[in-house]
């Protein structure tokens, strides 16, 4: 399935954030959305899971425009998983196990999902009984990801998946993304680490000033510099 934004405009109260965004993330690929802080990456990503609606323009998932139809939203949200930038915005249950099984129960797949195996996939074996709000930020991020993996989506939209992870955590993440791609999952992620984006993505796009200002299958240092992106993050290690 593909995710498409067509001439999307969106404003919060008095702040115009998206000002005519045209963007495509293709099936079977890893797409990285780059952009400086406050460019509107999170805002754009939330549109693909129906959490935000454009003021004008269209969001298409697999060619179908997202509308207010509840049945359609349910279908889209079960196929396009969304991992929040800040795990505190995503976790909602008193224990890790309850949180990870939340999505599967809502889409009636709880019987088929092995929660322990899902936790092991993100390196949290045996953490099922812990309280998410007492876990470290990096651990919470992994719980949040497990909660989406458990729904077995076709597409995963991840907002800043490596922000706040240590080197080993980020590296494990690259491995996990490769695994997901091999399993046929398509991925759209945002990052301001150009190095990480280049390491995992088939295609990169830069969002700046409310529009997509660059798209390509790699990005040079000069281009990155021109758009005010950090280029050294992972490369320097």
């Amino acid at each position: 399935m593909t995710l498409v934004a067509e001439d999307v405009r969106f404003a919060y109260a008095d702040r115009d954030v998206l000002q005519g965004v045209d963007f495509t993330a293709l099936e079977g690929e890893v797409t990285a959305l780059l952009g400086p802080n406050g460019a509107g990456k999170s805002t754009l990503l939330k549109h693909f899971n129906g959490l935000l609606r454009p003021d004008s323009g269209r969001i298409l998932v697999d060619g179908n425009r997202i509308t207010d139809d509840q049945a359609q939203l349910r279908e889209i949200r079960s196929r396009v998983g969304f991992v929040f930038q800040n795990p505190e915005n995503q976790l909602l249950a008193p224990t890790v196990r309850q949180d990870v099984s939340f999505g599967p129960r809502n889409i009636d797949t709880a019987d088929e999902v092995d929660i322990e195996a899902t936790l092991a996939r993100v390196g949290l074996d045996g953490a099922g009984n812990r309280h998410p709000h007492t876990m470290s930020n990096g651990e919470q991020k992994r719980v949040a990801l497990a909660g989406v993996l458990a729904m077995d989506p076709d597409y995963i939209v991840m907002d800043e998946p490596t922000a706040g992870l240590d080197g080993a955590g980020a590296e494990r993440f690259v491995g996990l993304i490769e695994e997901l791609v091999d399993a046929g999952v398509s991925i759209l992620l945002s990052t301001h680490h150009v190095g990480f984006g280049k390491a995992v993505a088939d295609r990169l796009a830069v969002l700046k000033g409310g529009q997509i200002v660059y798209e390509g299958d790699t990005i040079g240092r000069d281009t990155a510099d021109r758009y005010g992106l950090r280029t050294w993050a992972l490369e320097r290690r």
Binding site: A11, Y12, A13, D14, N49, L51, D55, Q70, R74, R77, S78, G81, F82, F84, E88, N89, Q90, L91, L92, A93, P94, Q98, F102, G103, R105, N106, I107, H131, H133, G147, V148, M151
Partner: protein
């Protein structure tokens, strides 16, 4: 589209500003709560609704409905438990004339009070309110307690809203069964999360030098003396008439 309370307060343009606004609202609130006639309450509500709309527009004021919503169960109980001359009977429940009168009375009295306070809440940052109350000599223990309650209530709302968005993203409200399950789950986490957040907030405040006395910045200048005097005259006038 989306605007937080802080955002609304910052862009508000109240006709009466500064410490004067706090004093006026406190006085008007006293007059409204003790008003002898329903007319006096309706007039106070109309005046302050006008002031609030003038300050922030209509949209942000829909939040005023939240406290009214909390009143409803209480009013329902009053309606069927007040003894007196029966009007309508539903099985074992009797609605009495006295009950209807008490409910109407409570509704206008509390509705009007909420609107009077709403003008202040919608258009003035909490720090101004605190500073004014402190300067007026309210004991600092009381002021800090007010502030603590205000923070806790604010946190409950913020956390509840975050978790609702989170639940939406994972199809938490797709049918009735899911809705009930999600609401139960959020309710059971809300308390823990709120305590956790308030504790962290406290930590963050102490880390930046808070020692039981919240920083408060009062707007030095008061504006709208004439209007305030006029309003007080009207509120007092309807009592005398």
């Amino acid at each position: 589209m989306h605007k937080t309370l802080e955002g609304v307060q910052q862009s508000a343009t109240p006709a009466i500003r500064g410490p004067l606004q706090v004093y006026l609202v406190v006085l008007a609130l006293g007059l409204t709560v003790t008003a002898p006639s329903r007319l006096a309450q309706v007039i106070a509500a109309a005046v302050f609704l006008g002031l609030a709309i003038d300050a922030v527009g209509v949209r942000p004021l829909r939040w005023l409905a939240v406290p009214v919503f909390f009143l409803i169960p209480g009013l329902a109980i009053i309606l069927v438990t007040t003894p007196g001359h029966g009007l309508i009977e539903f099985g074992p429940l009797t609605i009495t004339q006295g009950g209807v009168k008490t409910v109407l009375d409570t509704l206008t009295r509390s509705g009007a009070s909420i609107i009077v306070l709403g003008f202040l809440i919608a258009s003035t940052p909490v720090s101004t309110v605190i500073a004014t109350l402190r300067r007026a000599g309210l004991p600092s223990v009381l002021v800090e307690l007010l502030l603590y309650v205000y923070r806790a209530i604010g946190t409950v709302f913020v956390e509840a809203e975050r978790m609702q968005t989170a639940a939406k993203a994972r199809v938490g409200y797709s049918n009735r069964r899911a809705k009930i399950r999600t609401t139960k789950l959020i309710a059971s986490t809300l308390f823990l999360r709120t305590i956790d957040r308030v504790t962290h907030l406290d930590e963050a405040m102490r880390a930046r030098g808070y020692a039981g006395k919240a920083p408060a910045t009062a707007e030095a200048e008061s504006h709208g003396y004439g209007l305030s005097i006029g309003i007080l005259a009207v509120l007092l006038g309807v009592r005398i008439l």
